[in-house]
C-alpha cells in the first residue's frame, strides 16, 4: 500500500507531507517548557550565588577600606603626626640653636686667638690661612743647623698631622652645619608630607645618613693618621735613644781606649 502511495505521490507532494508531519509533531516540543523553566531556575540560582559572592566582596572591600581609613591611615592620626613634627621641629630648633651657638673659644693671646678663630670658623675656605696661624703659634720646623734630619722630619710630620687633623676638623664642622640644614629641610618637609610621600623623604634621609657615615669615616681616618704619627713619634724617640746609647757606648769605648794608649 505504501508503495502504491509512494508511486501515486510526486516529489513535491512527498515534501509537503514531510513538512506537515513535522509541524504535526512540534506540539510534542511543548514538553520543553519545563526545561526552560529549569534553565531559568538555574540562572536564578547562579545569580543568587553571584549575588552572595558580590556581597562578600562588598564586605571585604568595606573591611579593607575601614582598615585603611581607621587603622592604617586615619586622617586624625596623620594630622596629629604632622602637627607633632612641626611642633617638635620648632621646639628643638630654638633649643638646638641655643646650644649650638654657645661659643667655646677660649684663647686669650693674639696668635692663639687667631688660630682658634680659624680652627672654629666652620669655613673650609679658611683652610689656606690655617698653616700661617699654626706656624705663628707653634713655630716652623727648625733649620738644618739647629736640629738633626730625623728630628726635623719628625717635627714636620707632627706638624703636618696636627694641621691635617685641624683642617679636617674645620671642613667637618662646615659639613656638620650643612648636614644639619639637610636634616632641618627634611623635617620641615615631613611636617607637610603624606604617608605616601614620606618614604621618599625617608630615603633622602638615609642617603644623607650614608654621606654622614662617609664623612665620619674620613674623620676617623684623620684621627688614625694623627694617632699613628703620635705612636711613630714616640717610637722614633725610642730609636733615637737607642742610637744615642750606641753613640755614647762607642764614645766611652774610645775614651776608655785612649788613657790606656796614653799610659803606654
Amino acid at each position: 500500500m505504501l508503495k502504491k502511495l509512494k508511486s501515486s505521490l510526486g516529489n513535491g507532494k512527498r515534501r509537503l507531507l514531510v513538512i506537515v508531519a513535522f509541524i504535526a509533531l512540534v506540539p510534542a516540543a511543548k514538553a520543553g517548557i519545563a526545561d526552560i523553566l529549569s534553565i531559568f531556575q538555574t540562572i536564578n540560582s547562579t545569580l543568587r550565588q553571584a549575588g552572595g559572592v558580590l556581597n562578600t566582596v562588598q564586605n571585604l572591600k568595606l573591611t579593607v577600606a575601614n582598615l585603611e581609613t581607621r587603622v592604617i591611615w586615619p586622617v586624625s592620626l596623620i594630622n596629629q603626626a604632622r602637627n607633632f613634627v612641626a611642633a617638635n621641629e620648632a621646639q628643638a630648633r630654638s633649643l638646638l640653636s641655643g646650644i649650638q651657638n654657645l661659643s667655646v673659644s677660649s684663647a686669650t693671646l693674639v696668635n692663639p686667638s687667631q688660630l682658634e678663630s680659624i680652627v672654629r670658623s666652620a669655613q673650609a675656605s679658611n683652610v689656606g690661612q690655617l698653616q700661617g696661624a699654626f706656624t705663628r703659634v707653634y713655630s716652623s720646623v727648625s733649620s738644618p743647623t739647629a736640629a738633626p734630619p730625623l728630628e726635623r722630619n719628625m717635627m714636620d710630620m707632627d706638624d703636618a698631622a696636627a694641621q691635617g687633623s685641624l683642617k679636617t676638623a674645620l671642613a667637618s664642622d662646615q659639613i656638620s652645619l650643612q648636614m644639619l640644614n639637610v636634616a632641618t629641610g627634611l623635617e620641615q618637609q615631613t611636617a607637610s608630607a603624606a604617608p605616601g610621600s614620606a618614604p621618599m623623604l625617608s630615603t633622602q634621609a638615609r642617603v644623607a645618613e650614608l654621606e654622614n657615615q662617609a664623612y665620619l669615616t674620613r674623620m676617623l681616618a684623620a684621627e688614625l693618621r694623627q694617632e699613628a704619627v703620635q705612636l711613630a713619634h714616640e717610637n722614633a724617640l725610642r730609636k733615637k735613644s737607642a742610637d744615642s746609647t750606641r753613640t755614647l757606648r762607642m764614645n766611652l769605648q774610645q775614651i776608655l781606649a785612649q788613657p790606656s794608649g796614653g799610659a803606654q
Partner: protein, 270 residues
C-alpha cells in the same frame, strides 16, 4: 460521457484533495492559541526574564554599585590622603633642593689638607692623603725614611727592639688603614650621589627600594666605621702597652743597677 469526464477529473485531483485534507486535519490539531512558536510559551519566557532582570538589579547591580562607591571612596582617600600628588611633588622638590646642598657638602672635603714642608715627610704625607689603595705599598718605605728603622741587634736589647718593631707595625698599619678608609669613604659618597640621582626620578613606590639599598650601604658604612674604631683601639692599646713596657724596663734597670751597685760596694765593705 459526463460521468467519464468527471471520473477522469477526479483521478487527477483526488491525490491533491487528499493531501489538502491531511494538511487541514493536522492544522486543526495544532494548539488553538498562537502564543508560541515551535511550542514555546512567550509569557513564561517574559516572566523568567523579568525575574532574572529583577534579580540582576537586586542581587548583582546593588552590591556592584556599593562596591563601586567603596572603590571610589578608597581611590579618593588614596589620592587625597595617602598619596596626594601635591605632597609627592613637594617631596621631589625638596629632594632636588637637598641634592644641591649635598653636592656642596662633598666639595668641602676637596679642600687640600696636605701641610708637610720637608721632602721626606711630604712623600709620606702624600701617600697617607692619597685615598688610593694602590699607594699603600709606598707607606712602609716612606715611613722608615721619616722615622728610621728598628735598630740593629747590637744597638738595642731584644725586648726594646721587639717593642719598637711592634710600635712601628701598628703605626704603619694605622696609616694604611687611614688610606683604605679614605678610599672607602669616597666610594660611599659616590654611591650616595648615584642613589640620590635615582631618587630624584623615583616614585613613592620605588623609593622604598632605594631606601632599602641605602640602608644596606649604611650598614656597610657602619661596619667600616667599626673597623676604623678597632684600628684606633689597637693604636691606643699599643701606646698603652709601650708605657707599661717602659715602666717594666725602668724597673729592670733599677733592679740591675741595685744589684750591680751591691756587687760594687761589697768588696769595699769587706
Amino acid at each position: 460521457m459526463k460521468w467519464r469526464r468527471f471520473k477522469r477529473l477526479w483521478m487527477r485531483v483526488r491525490n491533491k484533495i487528499a493531501v489538502i485534507t491531511v494538511v487541514v486535519f493536522v492544522l486543526l490539531l495544532l494548539p488553538p492559541k498562537g502564543h508560541g512558536q515551535f511550542g514555546i510559551d512567550l509569557a513564561v519566557i517574559q516572566t523568567g526574564l523579568s525575574v532574572i532582570s529583577n534579580l540582576l538589579q537586586s542581587v548583582v547591580a546593588k552590591p556592584l554599585a556599593a562596591i563601586q562607591q567603596i572603590e571610589q571612596q578608597a581611590a579618593t582617600f588614596e589620592q587625597q590622603v595617602v598619596w596626594p600628588i601635591s605632597a609627592i611633588n613637594q617631596a621631589k622638590a625638596t629632594i632636588n633642593q637637598l641634592q644641591g646642598v649635598l653636592v656642596q657638602t662633598r666639595q668641602i672635603l676637596q679642600a687640600p689638607i696636605a701641610s708637610a714642608t720637608l721632602p721626606t715627610p711630604k712623600k709620606l704625607e702624600q701617600a697617607l692623603l692619597s685615598a688610593n689603595p694602590g699607594a699603600i705599598s709606598q707607606v712602609s718605605a716612606n715611613y722608615t725614611a721619616v722615622y728610621g728603622a728598628v735598630p740593629a741587634p747590637t744597638d738595642a736589647p731584644q725586648p726594646v727592639r721587639d717593642l719598637m718593631d711592634m710600635t712601628d707595625a701598628e703605626a704603619q698599619a694605622a696609616m694604611k688603614k687611614a688610606v683604605e678608609l679614605d678610599a672607602l669613604a669616597n666610594v660611599e659618597l659616590q654611591t650616595a650621589e648615584q642613589i640620590n640621582q635615582q631618587l630624584q626620578g623615583a616614585a613613592p613606590g620605588s623609593a622604598a627600594i632605594l631606601e632599602a639599598q641605602t640602608s644596606a650601604w649604611v650598614v656597610r658604612a657602619n661596619a667600616y666605621t667599626q673597623s676604623a674604631l678597632a684600628e684606633l683601639m689597637r693604636v691606643r692599646s699599643i701606646s698603652l702597652a709601650n708605657q707599661g713596657a717602659q715602666l717594666k724596663f725602668s724597673a729592670n734597670h733599677t733592679s740591675n743597677l741595685r744589684s750591680t751597685s751591691g756587687q760594687v760596694l761589697q768588696p769595699a765593705a769587706r
